[in-house]
């Protein structure tokens, strides 16, 4: 590396580097200053004012779908709309990633099936859903398939008087918990259930290694979960209330309503993301050495058992990182809700609230902030996973 003595300063990489960085910082700073000065000039011209007080004033429109948060037109504030939007985005996102994982694994394994038909159908599924825009699929499910096939409220499909399917939504009974302490008890019960399942699994694994006697781990975990759930509901029984949907002539009251757009968006996201996950699963399984499969075969494992016990556990290391980034894509893609009117963050906040209040800068910054945080958390998760599996590698 050139040193200070002799030679011009511009031949010294270190000095050039510092000069370049200062230049970059100044350039970016000037550009941002230019944008801000334009914005303040334009806003003064249009008599607009940027503020955040609007968040604490009453929302001027009704939010249709708010499963985890009470919304009252006239008293609820705009910041509550923001919170409901985040909840609804996460709701369809989490439901979507569960569905997409199931579909993705099924289709990915099916693409490697012995059976020619199964293989071909799985390939058609993947290529079809991967190569058609998601927006088209969302519209298709909602407006062409699902809405026209559902009956109006007066002709609702009635399943044992508890579940009603109509084109205004799917109406189900719900257990509502009215008191805050009761909500805390249930939350505590769920946490305890998860902790005890983790402890139980650890113990079962240890026992298996010591005695080679397997336990039906999955079913016992399910039992533990249901047990804790029932227990916590038994404790808070006095504060709960079962609400059944009641049919009147033109509408339903009570119960819980699953909006049709949520259902359409969910199906579209599951198929689209499932197709991508299926490719990850296939690539992961193929990445496991052929010898592993042959060894399993020569030990007398059947195809399904060798998949379940030998190939998939090893493939997971290759499958999981790209699948987590597909989950992130799924949550980002759930913003297509705006096209069919599901109340996610983009539709509620960036769409309706922006129109009502005109606070473009604050609202767009907040919405983009939500997605940025979700994305950063996801990449953190991938990094942690990669680090934890790297130790296993030999």
């Amino acid at each position: 590396m050139a040193s200070g003595k002799g030679g011009a300063w511009y031949n010294d990489r270190r000095k050039i580097g510092i000069a370049l960085q200062i230049l970059a910082l100044v350039g970016v700073g000037l550009f941002i200053w230019y944008l801000i000065s334009n914005a303040s000039y334009n806003m003064a011209q249009r008599r607009m004012e940027m503020n955040t007080w609007f968040l604490f004033s009453e929302a001027s429109f009704k939010v249709g779908f708010h499963p985890f948060w009470d919304f009252e037109l006239g008293t609820s504030k705009y910041w509550e709309v923001f919170v409901i939007g985040i909840q609804n985005t996460l709701l369809v996102g989490i439901a979507g990633l569960i569905g997409a994982t199931v579909v993705g694994f099924a289709v990915g394994v099916a693409r490697l099936s012995d059976n020619w038909f199964v293989k071909t159908f799985a390939s058609i599924f993947v290529e079809l859903f991967r190569n058609v825009p998601l927006l088209l699929q969302v519209f298709f499910w909602n407006f062409v398939v699902i809405l026209p096939s559902l009956p109006s409220v007066s002709n609702a499909i009635d399943i044992f008087g508890t579940l009603f399917i109509t084109n205004k939504g799917i109406f189900t009974p719900i257990i509502s918990v009215s008191e805050n302490w009761a909500r805390l008890v249930i939350l505590g019960g769920l946490t305890l259930a998860i902790i005890s399942i983790i402890l139980f699994r650890r113990w079962a694994k240890k026992r298996f290694y010591e005695t080679a006697k397997p336990l039906p781990v999955f079913w016992i975990s399910v039992l533990i979960f249901i047990g804790f759930l029932l227990l916590s509901f038994a404790i808070v029984q006095s504060a709960t209330d079962v609400s059944m949907p009641q049919q009147s002539r033109f509408r339903f009251t009570g119960g819980f309503t699953v909006p049709v757009p949520l259902f359409s968006l969910w199906i579209a996201l599951v198929c689209y993301t499932g197709a991508f996950i299926a490719e990850n699963v296939r690539a992961g399984i193929l990445s496991v050495g052929k010898g592993q499969r042959e060894a399993a075969m020569s030990l007398g494992f059947r195809h399904s058992l060798s998949m379940k016990l030998i190939q998939i556990p090893q493939a997971l290391r290759v499958i999981i990182p790209p699948t987590i980034s597909q989950y992130l894509n799924l949550i980002k893609n759930s913003s297509l809700a705006v096209a069919i009117g599901y109340d996610d963050i983009v539709n509620l906040f960036m769409g309706i609230t922006l129109n009502q209040t005109g606070q473009a800068i604050v609202i767009i910054a907040m919405t983009m902030g939500v997605f940025t945080v979700i994305s950063l958390l996801t990449s953190l998760l991938i990094n942690i996973y990669n680090r934890s599996t790297q130790l296993v590698e030999r």
Binding site: G17, L20, Q21, A24, L25, V28, L35, N38, A39, Y41, N42, M43, Q45, S113, D114, N115, W116, F117, V118, F121, E127, L128, R130, N131, V132, P133, L134, L135, L136, F139, F140, F143, V144, H303, K332, N333, S335, L336, V338, A339, V346, M350, G351, L354, A360, I361, I364, T367, M368, F371, T372, I374, S375, L376, S379
Partner: protein, 373 residues
């Protein structure tokens, strides 16, 4: 008495059936599950394919200028609707209404196909490819705008608000990736730079755009661009969408190129350093030519994603090919022919995206072969 070795007769071959039957057994009847799936699949095909074939092709209405023919034939598809509105769906409102002008976008499209073929295939020697690349990046966009927009040389004006259809989809997708390409190279180099400030600026930029869905970026462009630019500059809807797409795509292009840069062995940098190359020479002459070649499949994959994502401009009020097709089945004239318009636009996207993904796979295989040699 000495023992005499008597060989046992060889056992018969394990499977005495003919190869055809073996093949059938292996692919269709290997296990009880396989047998069930085969029977189920045959049943599904039997019940769907003849119906679909009849509806889509054999019983379909192909001709006619209004819906009377289609209404008389409810069991067949109504392709006549798309035939009548074909140029509108492909080229947008203006060219749909002025059929004598459609040569303008068609000439541009033909030129685009020729340029893309010459650049992607290896028929042209390197030097000419460079000139052609320059032409494609600088002259061609101007020519495209001039010819499609018109307003000079006595051409009728086709305002950008009248652009639409497949033409708009292509303009946004191709324009987006071309504009994002130089930005992507700079960002990728910045992210791998040894200068911390440059690196952090690049990372922030890339991760911010990658974190957000294109819809929010389109909303941002359509709401904030007019605020953040001087009020003298008028930005129309197409330009706003193009800005949003460029910012979005530059982050993905940068990540694709970064993957290519990471695959270049350290020895290449060291060799260039020891020959006394400066940074821009090392990058421009040694590293980037190799890195870009390696990153072509990844760039094509991001382009496929972008191509599908351009449909989102429909949400901020532009009429891309899908929205244009949708307007057909929502018009009073052809109301209700939803399946036809959805299938038509899905087919266009499927053909383009499937073709491109095949192309990217073939390049990937070729690169793998070259690396092994």
């Amino acid at each position: 008495m000495a023992k005499v070795f008597v060989p046992t007769p060889p056992s018969p071959p394990p499977n005495s059936s003919t190869p055809a039957i073996q093949w059938l057994k292996r692919n269709f009847f290997n296990s009880p599950f396989s047998i069930v799936m085969t029977l189920l699949s045959v049943y599904v095909i039997w019940s769907i394919v003849p119906f679909a074939l009849n509806w889509a092709i054999l019983d379909a209405t192909w001709t006619g200028t209004d819906r009377t023919g289609c209404d008389a034939n409810p069991d067949g598809a109504c392709w006549a609707a798309l035939r009548v509105r074909f140029w509108q769906v492909m080229l947008g409102r203006f060219y749909g209404a002025n059929p004598e002008e459609i040569w303008r976008p068609l000439v541009i499209f033909a030129l685009f196909v020729v340029i893309a073929y010459l650049l992607l295939s290896e028929t042209l020697p390197g030097e000419y490819r460079l000139y052609l690349g320059g032409f494609a990046l600088i002259v061609f966009p101007v020519l495209t705008y001039g010819l499609i927009h018109g307003g000079m040389f006595g051409l009728k004006v086709a305002a950008t608000s009248q652009w639409g259809g497949f033409m708009l989809t292509l303009i946004l997708a191709v324009g987006g990736i071309v504009l994002a390409f130089p930005l992507g190279i700079v960002l990728a180099l910045g992210r791998r730079s040894s200068l911390p400030v440059v690196q952090w600026l690049s990372i922030t930029f890339i991760e911010f755009w990658r974190a957000n869905p294109l819809i929010t970026i389109l909303f941002m462009a359509s709401n904030l661009l007019p605020l953040f630019l001087p009020s003298e500059i008028e930005v129309d809807k197409v330009a706003r969408a193009l800005v949003a797409i460029t910012l979005f795509q530059s982050a993905y292009t940068a990540e694709a190129i970064r993957g290519g840069l990471a695959s270049i062995p350290k020895g290449q940098f060291e060799a260039a350093d020891s020959l006394g190359f400066k940074y821009h020479h090392t990058m421009g002459l040694i590293v980037l030519p190799q890195a870009l070649k390696v990153s072509i499949p990844a760039i094509v994959n991001t382009f496929i994603a972008l191509f599908k994502d351009t449909t989102l401009v429909g949400i901020v009020g532009l009429l891309d090919v899908f929205r244009m097709a949708q307007t057909v089945s929502r018009s009073t004239e052809w109301k209700g022919f939803d399946y036809e318009t959805y299938i038509f636009s899905a087919l266009i996207f499927f053909m383009c995206c499937y073709g491109m993904s095949r192309y990217s796979q073939s390049i990937e295989r070729k690169l793998n072969r070259e690396h092994k040699d």
